[in-house]
Symmetry: C2
Subunit: 500 residues, 2 copies
């Protein structure tokens, strides 16, 4: 029996530690009532034993399709104990996407909330589904100390969760994050926010997003509690914050504004210390004016970096994305591959224990993202003289075009164009469009001596990929701009062609 390394510390270890140190304090609260740290540990252990009895073993995947429910944490604890990976499915996805993800992930089991069963309509036939609700009524008398000791030991560096994340070629990818990565991030958040056992987190963001999961784990590591909201409701959130003396939460626009509106009807948010997320500056200003004891923290992060990697009070430098967390190395890489000077724009690179383990089933993409010992975020930004990060958006080659509510990945359209014998290189960008939000524009460089009309190329693309992805317009350039290393300078193309 291979033992865990002396250096490992798993999510399961956190449950054990909290069961000893913060035993009777609350850890998670929801419609079912409140679980203490000790109860969560017992529930996770009982579940691990039952899953083990069903044949779930190290390296297996278990998928969960649920709104914010405490059973997600129970599953997380059981997976950590068994060395299995919990695939966190997005309840807002389409049945087709969920089917594709399940086909890719090949989970041993799927736990789904009963009301979300229709989203499993296109799941592969082999997938075994259980109702999540069965976990709540689990018989805990069946926990056997002996049974746990016969389980293989947990591993801190195995993938604990798989989270669907944005793809560059239109297919969602599963980002794998280890116990170690998640707990490092939890400790860094607990440190910057001085979280402790008295802290209360209102989890309005889904647990299948890093922001919701990350803030929940940070509170748990600190011995604090998270109140899980299955779905966002501003009035209910404001009431809960006042009632439970919530101290911190994360929000994506337009949540915070709606909560402030609701609170204006008599809910006291005076217990709030920390608010973070992505919110416009006017709303942040309003928060600070209405509840001056609350501090809004601006940051930058993505699923692949285990959530936020830079974070500062937005009052320190409004508009910036904050400064790196203690164990985070940020680097801006200029077009020539060197580290950019302060204030100079470039690609945002990240290194540290926060970086994810890779993409499930995608070795080449994993290696590419981790090239040269740095995680390449695909985002652009700059770092100023004082170490603050300024986010400048997705890198042009990773841009996502949103047209008529559909996601269009430029790379897919470019590949289709470059399949035409006359086209040497193509750059596809999104341009503002009154009706569709954005429209697809292609800029092509043809092979020397070749010709092709815009209409011909638009038809060519429409016959190869979904018609809504066809360029609305095709332009030609004799020579697309290159960087020093010979790669296309997409930013220059986009800047030249975005406006008119």
């Amino acid at each position: 029996m291979a033992a865990m390394s002396v250096h490992g510390f798993s999510y399961w270890d956190l449950l054990l530690r909290n069961a000893a140190v913060n035993a009777d304090l609350p850890v998670v609260s929801g419609a079912f009532g409140i679980w203490s740290h000790a109860q969560l540990k017992v529930r996770a252990e009982a579940l691990a034993q039952q899953l083990h009895a069903k044949g779930v073993a190290k390296g297996d995947r278990i998928a969960v399709l649920a709104s914010n429910q405490p059973e997600v944490l129970q599953l997380l604890g059981a997976c950590s104990r068994l060395g299995a990976t919990l695939v966190l499915l997005n309840t807002r996805a389409h049945a087709q996407e969920i089917g594709a993800l399940l086909e890719d992930a090949e989970p041993a089991l799927v736990f789904a909330e009963a009301s979300l069963g229709s989203l499993l309509a296109q799941a592969p036939e082999a997938v075994v589904c259980h109702e999540l609700d069965t976990l709540a009524s689990m018989d805990l008398s069946e926990v056997s100390l002996t049974a746990t000791q016969t389980l293989p030991p947990p591993e801190a560096n195995a993938p604990l969760v798989a989270i669907p994340t944005a793809a560059i070629n239109g297919r969602p990818r599963l980002a794998l994050l280890s116990d170690s990565t998640l707990l490092h991030q939890a400790l860094q958040l607990a440190y910057v926010w001085s979280l402790g056992p008295a802290d209360r987190h209102l989890c309005v963001l889904p647990l299948f997003h890093m922001a919701g999961l990350g803030l929940t784990l940070a509170g748990q590591l600190a011995g604090g509690a998270s109140i899980l909201m299955p779905r966002f409701d501003a009035e209910a959130a404001a009431r809960e914050m006042a009632f439970s003396r919530v101290t911190y939460f994360a929000s994506f626009s337009p949540m915070l504004e709606a909560i402030l509106d609701a609170a204006a009807h008599g809910h006291d948010l005076g217990s709030l210390r920390v608010v973070t997320g992505l919110e416009p500056s006017e709303v942040v200003d309003r928060l600070h004016a209405s509840w001056p004891q609350a501090q809004f923290w601006s940051g930058y992060g993505q699923t692949e970096t285990g959530g936020m990697v830079s974070l500062s009070p937005s009052r320190d430098l409004p508009g910036s994305a904050g400064r790196p967390l203690p164990l985070v190395q940020l680097r801006i890489q200029a077009a020539d591959g060197r580290t950019a000077a302060p204030g100079q724009s470039g690609d945002i690179l990240v290194r540290g224990p926060c970086v994810f383990s890779g993409y499930w089933h995608r070795l080449a993409e994993t290696a590419h993202a981790a090239r040269d010992g740095w995680h390449h975020t695909g985002d652009r930004g700059r770092i100023d003289e004082r170490g603050f990060l300024w986010f400048e958006g997705r890198a042009p080659e990773k841009a996502l075009i949103k047209s008529g509510g559909e996601n269009i990945y430029p790379a897919e359209v470019e590949q289709a164009l470059e399949a035409h014998p006359a086209v040497m290189r193509a750059v596809v960008i999104g341009v503002p469009d009154k009706r569709w939000g954005e429209a697809v524009r292609a800029i092509c460089e043809l092979h020397p001596g070749q010709t092709a009309s815009a209409e011909e190329l638009i038809d060519f693309v429409g016959n190869r990929i979904a018609r809504f992805k066809r360029p609305r317009e095709v332009r030609f350039e004799p020579h697309l701009p290159r960087r020093e290393d010979g790669s296309l300078d997409r930013e220059a193309v986009a800047q030249a062609h975005r406006a008119d």
Copy 2:
């Protein structure tokens, strides 16, 4: 050129991060003045380049023999950048011990404070020594950006420091600690004490001990500063605390009492928030009575666990050694190998990123300490129902006997006794002795049918190892008590034979 893993974060990374984020804030202060975070980074980089030019490469050792001087941090940064290991020699050791350690460590270079040169009298001839003072006057104009880029990348999991630690067979061992271990511990301390850029650490303990080094790194990680005292002086310490508004420090008895005495002559210690270390409860009470804003934190740790692994305000439960840090798993192992029940005594085991990398040149001892996926501290204790650790001293087989100012390792004496043909097993313990502090007492089980007198065995030992290690008294037992696994129950022997 193999790049650092995307998950790595080295001490050198911390210097880089702080040079960007906390550039002009002080990081270290001493007789020479104050260095900012940016200056420390430049000095470490310049030194790395010069050492590289002298041929120092990844995996090499560099030794330093110095009182608390800022150049130790400069060397640490340079070693991290180069992937070299800094051997922190104890200035209180004898020339013979230092000679033996240098022979074992085979450092490429030794940097020594001029006044400590005599301690190098027995260094191997091949060792190249430099005066530490030369680093202070280093020409920083020689820092070359290009030169740094040609250096191999740093590694977070390589051994960054080697610290002499207690041995069980009389020979000091070098404990290796990686960047990763040291920075994890720094983050955990920064978290529990909410350290930030405004914090000031008075380093009265030597940097060649984990306590002095660990608290210095914790402050540095938080963007704070350490004031280094080359040697302890209570009056100077109290004055410095008042003058520099010191917020935290660690102390070993009798330092704290002397500082409180000195402060009574008019030094204001009102800025102190955190005091930790090993101090008797009366002195802790006096600290709390005199300076109620200061909190004494009791803990447990050792070099091999990167310093403290449990830590709580002593007011929470006086006499205990606190509760585990967030990423620390503590386990008490009962004599039968199982996890002890709450309140039951046993061996203290530790797991987590805080655990050291191993002993230099001692693979077998390293593997033994890390058996079953746990670091075996060699200490005894218990964990109560609330998760507090209670320290009960060194395990009997690892006890150190202090007699007449000399260290005597029971294992060495036991080996000598068991070399006698009549002796099957021997247990050696220390017993109180008015004149020598402790005296050596041996309890022997003879082979069936064999005989030997106490006098004969004492002479036998005296002819094999140093005479001061001879037992003062030898007792005989027909059957020494065993544990279930067949191993000697040294604790039972010690309890039965310690008193009279």
